[in-house]
């Protein structure tokens, strides 16, 4: 029943605490748009604001995709919620072979 006297968290406090730091005000309040695209095969589009911004970008922006070729990793582009679908359009050999987004409906699994 008794818990140990010392509990260590190696991952979660640092990673999640960063989610709650105030965002960069210049970034948050700027009226100008930021234009991004997933890779060089796609057109640019204005970046989406999904309500998180700031430190949450640590999780949500710029998730690379690519492949290993002869032992070397080749980055082909990025997936991001901040990127509009139109900016994800374009073809390259990696986009063609893998389907993503099949899982992921719902808001929270909270039980």
């Amino acid at each position: 029943m008794k818990k140990s006297k010392y509990i260590e968290l190696v991952l979660i406090t640092a990673a999640l605490a960063s989610c709650h730091q105030p965002g960069n005000k210049d970034w948050e309040s700027g009226n100008g748009h930021t234009y991004i695209r997933s890779d060089s095969t796609a057109p640019y589009s204005p970046m989406r604001r999904n309500g998180y911004g700031g430190a949450r970008m640590w999780y949500y922006a710029f998730r690379p995709y690519g492949n290993y070729n002869n032992g070397y990793y080749e980055r082909a582009g990025y997936y991001s919620d901040a990127i509009h679908e139109s900016a994800n359009i374009g073809s390259n050999s990696f986009k063609g072979s893998v389907v993503r987004g099949g899982f992921g409906g719902g808001f929270s699994v909270s039980s």
């Binding site: 968290l9 389907v99 808001f107 699994v109």
Partner: protein
């Protein structure tokens, strides 16, 4: 079991945020330390015993469902049955579950079992323990969640593929991310190599028929905080059965049976003498005071409480098309207008601790509050 009103810590918000607990308040408080629940040791031992016994009975009920091919009552699609049975017979890794109990006048009654995607793990395992260190270090708590998670991940390592263990959840929910990252933290401390991937980033390589991460690396082991029924609702879920790697999903597919409320009438049918199990049926006409529950629902959605055949409290939601079960009404203990439900954790087949959520309504829903506890 008593509810004691206290003064919250002056700095409680920053204290819990330092732990990485960011969803303590939404538009209403969720973490509530203006009170705590006090238990005697005999009460806790009783809860521990009930948890252990019910876990055993649940395993028996799973076998019964398989032996008698009762999947239709659970709304489980036929194509996934071989995977369910394979995960059961091969004993694929499973780590946790949470029983929800009413504990009133000394009687423990099982309300439901969150066997697939239980949440409030971090609050129960970490946040309330650190609260106790500030409030009264000399007291104990029914809580060995953290230690048991680390120990069980270490034990499970030999039953996983010798490869990265991925952790996945929905993208835009801090609550799910916190629970998932906490679980990953424990797995890392258990000696596993881990990686986080959001659920909609999981890729399916159609040419090789395998799941892949963002770098096209095969996913062979994956912990998901995402319900099986959601995974299977779209065609993409059919890839799970076609997966050439035969990836290990934690929780395993057989947990679909236990996390479904159709298990409640099965438990009653099998174990009517068990003091913890409430009468429950698939038919509405067997009881006059009962709770109508969708077999698949979350956060108290689409629940209807019927007394003397009249609805006295009802919630809306989007569940119910798969069917309902009818469970004898069992009111929760009330403390000055607060209705408390006990979430009792099973980790690695053993009782591991509890968390208490309370609500002003009869139905515990997504506006309930997590209140810490101690043993006096």
């Amino acid at each position: 079991m008593e509810r004691i009103t206290i003064q919250p810590r002056n700095n409680w918000q920053s204290a819990v945020e330092k732990l990485g607990f960011g969803f303590h308040t939404t538009n209403i408080p969720y973490w509530d330390e203006s009170a705590y629940y006090s238990f005697t040791m005999p009460e806790v031992l009783k809860l521990e015993k009930a948890t252990a016994e019910l876990w055993d009975l649940c395993l028996g009920a799973v076998q019964h469902v398989m032996d008698n091919n009762l999947y239709q009552q659970f709304g489980i699609p036929e194509y996934i049955i071989p995977l369910i049975e394979k995960s059961w017979t091969e004993d694929h890794p499973a780590i946790y579950g949470r029983f929800d109990f009413s504990y009133k006048n000394g009687d423990i009654k099982l309300l439901e079992f969150n066997a697939d995607t239980p949440t409030s793990l971090y609050e129960a395992g970490i946040v309330q323990w650190f609260w106790l260190q500030d409030f009264d270090k000399s007291k104990d708590q029914f809580n060995s969640i953290h230690e048991k998670l680390i120990a069980y991940w270490r034990y499970l390592k030999q039953y996983l593929y010798d490869d990265t263990l991925y952790f996945t959840c929905l993208k835009e929910t801090l609550e799910d991310l916190t629970n998932t990252e906490y679980m990953r933290d424990c797995a890392m401390q258990g000696g596993l190599e881990t990686e986080l991937i959001f659920i909609d980033d999981i890729g399916w390589d159609a040419s090789r028929e395998v799941f892949v991460d963002m770098k096209e690396k095969d996913i062979k082991n994956i912990f998901k905080l995402y319900p099986w029924e959601w995974m299977l609702k779209d065609d993409f879920g059919k890839n799970i059965a076609a997966d050439k790697n035969k990836s290990l999903w934690v929780e395993p597919a057989w947990k679909m049976i236990l996390s479904n409320k159709a298990i409640l009438p099965i438990l009653w049918q099998l174990y009517p003498q068990c003091p913890y199990i409430l009468p429950a049926y698939f038919e509405a006409d067997r009881l006059t005071d009962y709770v109508k529950k969708p077999i698949l629902s979350r956060e108290g959605a689409n629940i209807d409480i019927i007394q003397n055949n009249l609805s006295i409290e009802k919630t809306e939601g989007e569940y119910g098309k798969e069917g309902f079960i009818y469970q004898q009404l069992c009111s929760l203990p009330e403390f000055n207008g607060n209705h408390a439900v006990i979430g009792s954790w099973v980790i690695g087949q053993q009782p591991a601790g509890m968390g208490i959520r309370e609500s002003t309504s009869l139905i515990t829903n997504n506006t309930s509050r997590f209140v810490p506890h101690l043993i006096d």
